[in-house]
Symmetry: C2
Subunit: 365 residues, 2 copies
C-alpha cells in the first residue's frame, strides 16, 4: 500500500512537466508543489487541465479574444528583499500583469508562474510569494494553471504570464486615439514612486521626531502601500471596453510621461497635457512638500502606479463622466489629443507651456 | 520631421508594455526590439495584436481548446555557454515548449519570451538567442507575440511561454492509460544525454587519435546534435490525437524512467517495461560501448530526448502501427500497462526482472 500516492496521484506529479529542474536541496520539490496545488490549484469549469500535465488546457468562450501578457521581475532590479517581503513581491508581480490585461479592457483568468530560486530561497519564501500573487488575483478569480521552477545562481527571477479574455472587437489598444479626443487617467499618480523612495530612505528615528520630514505616519503608510500593493484597474478597463467609451488605453507602468508617449507614437497623434489637472493624492503632495520636490515631477515620471491612461471622444464625455460617477470610479481629465506635429506639450498650472521630456521611471537601476 | 518615428510608430514601442526594465547599457532596447520585431514579428490573421501593446490579443477558433506551457531556463542549470551557443540555447528552449504542446496532441501557435540579460550579454547574443528559438518554431509557423526583457545580476534567464490549440476533447493527458494498454515511444532515447556528456568531456585530441574513445566523428556529431537541437514530435502528437490512437501521452524530458512514472501515477496504473526493446540509436550504442556504459541506463535516465511516450489500447495496435508506417513515424512498442499494484517493473533482454529505480535526469545540478 502506498496510501499517499494512491490518494494524491494528481498532486504527485503536479506541475512536474514544467517543473523540470529541481530547486535547491533545502526545498523539497514534491512537498512544495503539493502545497502550492493544495493552496492555489482550485478547479474551474473552464480549466480542462491545470497544474499536473505537460501543459495546461483551457476552454475559451465563443465570441472572445484571448489576451496574453508576460513580465519578468528580477531581484535587485524590480524589487529589493530589504524593503519588501516575498508576499509583497508576489502581489506586485501579479498586479503588473493584471494591469496589462486591464489596459486591454480584458478579464484576467489564468496565471502561469516560472520561478528561479536562489540558494538562499526557502520553501517558506516560495509559499509567501505565491500567497502574495494569489492575494492580488483573488478579487478577479484568476486561476493558477501552470508554471516552472528552477534553481538560480544568484537572486530571484519571477516570470508571470497572465491569460485573459476580452469580447470580440472590444479590446482597447494604444493605437486608437484620435485628434480631438480627451485624455483621462484613473485614480492618483506619483504615489508609487513616493512610496518606493520612502522605502529606500534611511529609517526615520520615529521616537524623537514622530513626523520625520513632516510626513504623517498615515501618509507614509498610504504611499508605501501604493508601491507594494498596487491595484490593477480591471473593473475600470472592462467598463471602458464594454461601453465603447475609450478610443485607446494603456496602464501607467513606466510613468505618465513615458506611457503617454506610447499612446502618441502608436496612435500617431500629439497631446496637450494640463499639468495643473494631474490627480495627486494628499499623501503625495505632503511627501513632495516635505522633500522640497514638485509633486508634478513624481506624477510625470513615477512608474508602477498601474492607473489607466486613456483617450475618449469628446462626444462621449457626458456619458463617460456620468457612468464613472455611478460606478464610483475616480477619473480625471488631464489633456487633449492634437495632431502628431503638435508633439507632446504640457502646460503648467502657471500657464507655462513646454515640451514634455522623454523620461520615464527606470526601476531601481 | 521625425521620419524614423513616423515610419515606425508600431515598432517604436513594440514590446514596450512588457519590456518594463531596461537591459544593460551595452544593449539599446529600442534597437533591439526593432530588430526582433523586424525579424520575427510576422503578422497572422489570428493575431489581433502582437508585439507592441500592453498585452497580445489572439483569436481562437471555435471547437478548440487552448494549450499553455511555460519553461524557465537558467544559465549554469539548463545550459552552459562554454558548450552551447546562444542560438543552440534558444533552439532548445523553444523545443522544450513545443514538445510539451506536442505531448498534449496540440498545434503550437504563439510564443512569449521573457528574458533577463546579464551584464556580459550583448545585442548580438539576444539576436542569436531569438534566431535559435525561431528556427525551432519555424517548421510549426509559431508566431512571436510578446515578451519582456530585464537586466540580470548574474547569468541568463530565459522564460518561454508557448500557446497552442487542440480540438475539443482530443487533448492527450497523462492520466488516460488503462490496464492492458501497450506502451510506445517515438524515435530513439538516450541520445541527448550521451550528447551532453560528450560536450562536457575534455576535447578529444583529434589529430593524434582520430577515433578518440572509439567513437566516430559522425556518431559524436549526431549525439551532440540530438542534445543541442532536439526535435519536438509535433506531427506525431497531432496524429495520435486526431486518430484517437493514444490513451495517454507525455514527452520525455526528465528521462524515460521518471516520465513513465508520471504516466503511472496520473493514470494510477503499473507497467511492465521491456528493456530489450528500448529504441537505441547506433550512435548511442557506440558511445556507451566506448565508455563501458550500458546504453539502457542512458535511455532510462537521459532527459531531454523530447520523444513522445504514450499508451494505446491493444485493439488499436494494427491501426497505430500501420498509420505510423504510412506517415514515416518511428515507433517502438516497449511495454504493457498493468494494475497499479504491479508497480513499475522492467525485464532485461536477459529475462531478469526488477523494479525500476525512481531516478530521472536532473540537468546539470
Amino acid at each position: 500500500m502506498q496510501p499517499s500516492r494512491q490518494r494524491l496521484p494528481y498532486i504527485f506529479t503536479s506541475m512536474a512537466s514544467t517543473v523540470r529542474t529541481k530547486a535547491r536541496p533545502t526545498i523539497r520539490e514534491f512537498d512544495l508543489i503539493r502545497a502550492l496545488h493544495r493552496r492555489h490549484g482550485r478547479r474551474a469549469p473552464s480549466v480542462i487541465q491545470g497544474i499536473g500535465d505537460d501543459a495546461a488546457v483551457i476552454t475559451s468562450r465563443a465570441g472572445q479574444w484571448t489576451v496574453l501578457t508576460t513580465d519578468l521581475l528580477t531581484e535587485g532590479v524590480h524589487f529589493d528583499l530589504r524593503t519588501a517581503t516575498m508576499s509583497d513581491i508576489g502581489f506586485r508581480a501579479a498586479a503588473a500583469n493584471l494591469s496589462d490585461v486591464a489596459a486591454m479592457g480584458g478579464t484576467p483568468q489564468y496565471l502561469l508562474v516560472a520561478l528561479a530560486i536562489p540558494r538562499t530561497g526557502t520553501r517558506q519564501h516560495v509559499l509567501q510569494l505565491y500567497r502574495g500573487m494569489m492575494a492580488a488575483c483573488r478579487p478577479h478569480r484568476v486561476r493558477l494553471i501552470g508554471g516552472d521552477t528552477s534553481a538560480s545562481g544568484d537572486g530571484w527571477f519571477i516570470s508571470v504570464t497572465l491569460v485573459g479574455m476580452v469580447p470580440h472587437r472590444k479590446a482597447l489598444f494604444r493605437s486608437g486615439a484620435r485628434i480631438g479626443d480627451l485624455l483621462y487617467v484613473t485614480g492618483t499618480i506619483g504615489d508609487a514612486l513616493a512610496g518606493l523612495r520612502l522605502l529606500n530612505e534611511p529609517p526615520p528615528r520615529a521616537r524623537r521626531h514622530p513626523r520625520t520630514g513632516a510626513l504623517s505616519a498615515r501618509h507614509r503608510q498610504f504611499l508605501i502601500d501604493r508601491h507594494l500593493h498596487p491595484t490593477a484597474r480591471v473593473a475600470e478597463g472592462q467598463w471602458l471596453s464594454a461601453l465603447h467609451l475609450a478610443t485607446s488605453a494603456i496602464d501607467i507602468s513606466d510613468g505618465l510621461s513615458g506611457d503617454l508617449r506610447h499612446i502618441c507614437e502608436e496612435s500617431h497623434v500629439g497631446v496637450d497635457l494640463d499639468l495643473g489637472a494631474l490627480p495627486l493624492s494628499p499623501a503625495c503632495v505632503a511627501y513632495a512638500t516635505s522633500r522640497h520636490l514638485d509633486p508634478v515631477d513624481l506624477a510625470l515620471t513615477g512608474g508602477e502606479d498601474y492607473e489607466l491612461l486613456f483617450t475618449a471622444s469628446a462626444r462621449q464625455r457626458p456619458r463617460l463622466e456620468r457612468t464613472a460617477l455611478e460606478r464610483g470610479f475616480s477619473l480625471t481629465r488631464i489633456g487633449k489629443i492634437h495632431p502628431f506635429r503638435f508633439g507632446i506639450q504640457a502646460v503648467s498650472s502657471h500657464g507655462r507651456r513646454h515640451r514634455l521630456p522623454n523620461t520615464s521611471y527606470e526601476h531601481f537601476t
